[in-house]
Symmetry: C2
DNA sequence: GCTTCCCGAGCACCTACATGT
DNA sequence: AACATGTAGGTGCTCGGGAAG
């Protein structure tokens, strides 16, 4: 269906060279009204589902709509109503399982409520870029925003959200300046470390996510605290960046520490890298060393060996985001405590008691 | 920042109980004009960057804007201009690497052109659901759509896109009814099979993606054709559904075929499952059997062993989508042949010559 | 008195033209 | 005549008030 050439004489020219600049000329409510022989706001009533329209009139309007291929102009509607019925999602990348699943859940639930979602990617995960996105937000037609990023630095007055735009934040601590929804990172990490300790390991090494990530820092913090509470030695942290490659690097270093018998990786992809590093060094998992991950990505059940990891309910996070955001937009009461989504250890085969304990 | 209660007497009530239903009252161009002591027209000129405004006036307007926290109302602008400057993306899931990366690239390039992107998820990957999405499209404020799904069944007149809405399709063959952008699935699969054959394998087994997926069917077709052209036996196809779990199932069946020395999996996740199945059966990869995947997801370099696979350039696919769509929207000339993005084999360690050939 | 419909107005913005320098 | 600014009109839709059935 090439737009470049029109089949000669096929249809009466739908877009004659009237109104120059305009690319398209939408069918308006008035056109429908004329064809149906009613006034335009009767058409409006029909299209908004208003009850006070006599069935026969409604039928007439409906068929006129169909005949003309009428579609309501949402810009006009938005202008009149003062709301866009869309929510923006600010994020750095879609390439992490967590983000894409959260976004997916947000989109699904928003759609169910009649809201569209628009993506607002930022080039780098920095405060400046988020601020920049907020500026672009001014141009964007959104009633609310959910930010899937660490933003705790911009908690004070630095942020100037357009008036009336609501905000919910994921993967961040924002004090009580904004609503926050997130998985219970801390408890998840605690479960992972405790599991390893309960298995009989004297202590647990940690491959952490990037600094500046709230999730990474919470997980590291929980790891450290759990160890200390159990009176164990806290080994030097291995720094990663979420990628399998960084997990592999860290694993290479860990594989050379003979005393390392248990590793908690801050996500499954780094755990994958760790697994491979140990494999290359001939250190068997879980016979020689145990590994626990975080996220429970679908693939993790098929790693070699199947990964013991912490399950995150991203769908629930997404659901609560839109629920909370919509409450704010509609100025309803907000259930303040709904922010922490539970997290759960799923035991597979990558963690076992250490050799000497068996 | 609770919206529920206003701190008593802190600010002059910004939203007095005038206009009842309205939630918010935006700062309009007229408010700025009044404060700056100019006409609203001049404000408009400033905000669109029109050159014919004397610097001192511009300054005055700009500071008035800042003081009032003015943001242009995109609904009004859209209404006036007849375009929304946003493009919709219809897809089934974001959970596949390919989809999320493509969407990300689309979002990035769209943003660069001043277009926002809105997500339109469909519940199931069926024709009905796509059609349903197209209906909802009528309500949505988009100038164009890219559909990331198999849609070739709706190629004829069944589709009623809102007038003026442009369409580009990924991961589908749509004849020449719509513009299509995609990776060169066929050639990629051909390279994978040829690589295995060149290594000395007599034939190659195939773990396919779900029926109904264009990509899956193209890859299977290329596998079959390449085998036949080389005069090789075409083994029974193993049906999968993209998931690692399905790859594992298929791998279990394959592991019992002693003559199977080479497997081409239609994506990396299924390859992961295959790897694990062979591992469990004590069949070494690549010593006993070779495995090649498709997609080149980042993790695949850290599988055990690192996976030989076919690289897809999702970013380029996304780029071409928006380029093509924008051309259609702007009614520019369209470079018709820009649809096929090359694909390339990347050799790692999961494929080697068969035992007896060494 | 009640339902069913129409008229007019206005939401925030931009194009075209008129006006005054 | 070139430039800077203002005025009028119109974009599609929905709400308030009123008029007809």
């Amino acid at each position: 269906m090439s737009a470049a050439e029109t089949p000669p004489g096929a249809t009466p020219p739908p877009d004659p060279p009237t109104r120059r600049g305009r690319a398209k000329r939408a069918v308006s409510i008035g056109d429908v009204a004329r064809l149906a022989g009613v006034s335009s706001q009767t058409v409006s009533r029909v299209s908004t589902g208003h009850p006070r329209v006599i069935p026969s009139t409604r039928e007439r309007v409906l068929s006129a709509m169909k005949e003309l291929g009428y579609r309501p102009n949402s810009a006009a509607r938005a202008l009149r109503m003062g709301e866009f019925r869309t929510i923006g999602v600010v994020l750095f990348t879609l390439s992490s399982t967590g983000n894409s699943r959260t976004v997916e859940a947000i989109a699904d639930h928003a759609a169910a409520e009649g809201y569209a979602i628009t993506l607002i990617p930022v080039a780098r995960p920095t405060q400046d870029d988020v601020l920049g996105a907020f500026t672009r937000l001014e141009e964007l037609a959104v009633d609310g925003v959910v930010v899937i990023m660490e933003v705790h630095l911009l908690d004070t007055a630095t942020v100037t959200l357009p008036p009336g735009v609501q905000l919910v934040v994921v993967d961040s601590d924002a004090g009580d300046h904004y609503a926050v929804v997130d998985s219970d990172q801390y408890d998840g990490a605690r479960q992972a470390v405790r599991h390893l300790l309960d298995l009989g390991h004297r202590t647990v090494w940690h491959v952490a996510g990037p600094t500046g990530s709230f999730a990474a820092e919470r997980r590291a913090e929980a790891w450290r605290t759990t160890l200390k509470e159990a009176g164990r030695r806290v080994p030097r942290i291995e720094q990663g960046d979420w990628s399998a490659a960084s997990g592999y690097e860290a694993g290479l270093r860990l594989a050379e520490q003979p005393r390392c018998t248990a590793v908690f990786a801050a996500n499954d992809q780094m755990a994958l890298g760790v697994l491979r590093a140990f494999h290359e060094h001939g250190r068997s998992v879980p016979d020689d060393v145990s590994v626990v991950g975080f996220d429970d990505i679908p693939d993790s059940a098929f790693f070699i060996p199947p990964l013991t990891t912490v399950h995150q309910d991203f769908a629930e996070v997404g659901r609560r985001c839109v629920q909370r955001l919509l409450q704010q937009i509609r100025r309803e009461a907000t259930d303040a405590d709904a922010g922490l989504v539970p997290t759960q250890l799923v035991v597979r085969h990558s963690a076992a008691p250490p050799r000497r304990a068996r």
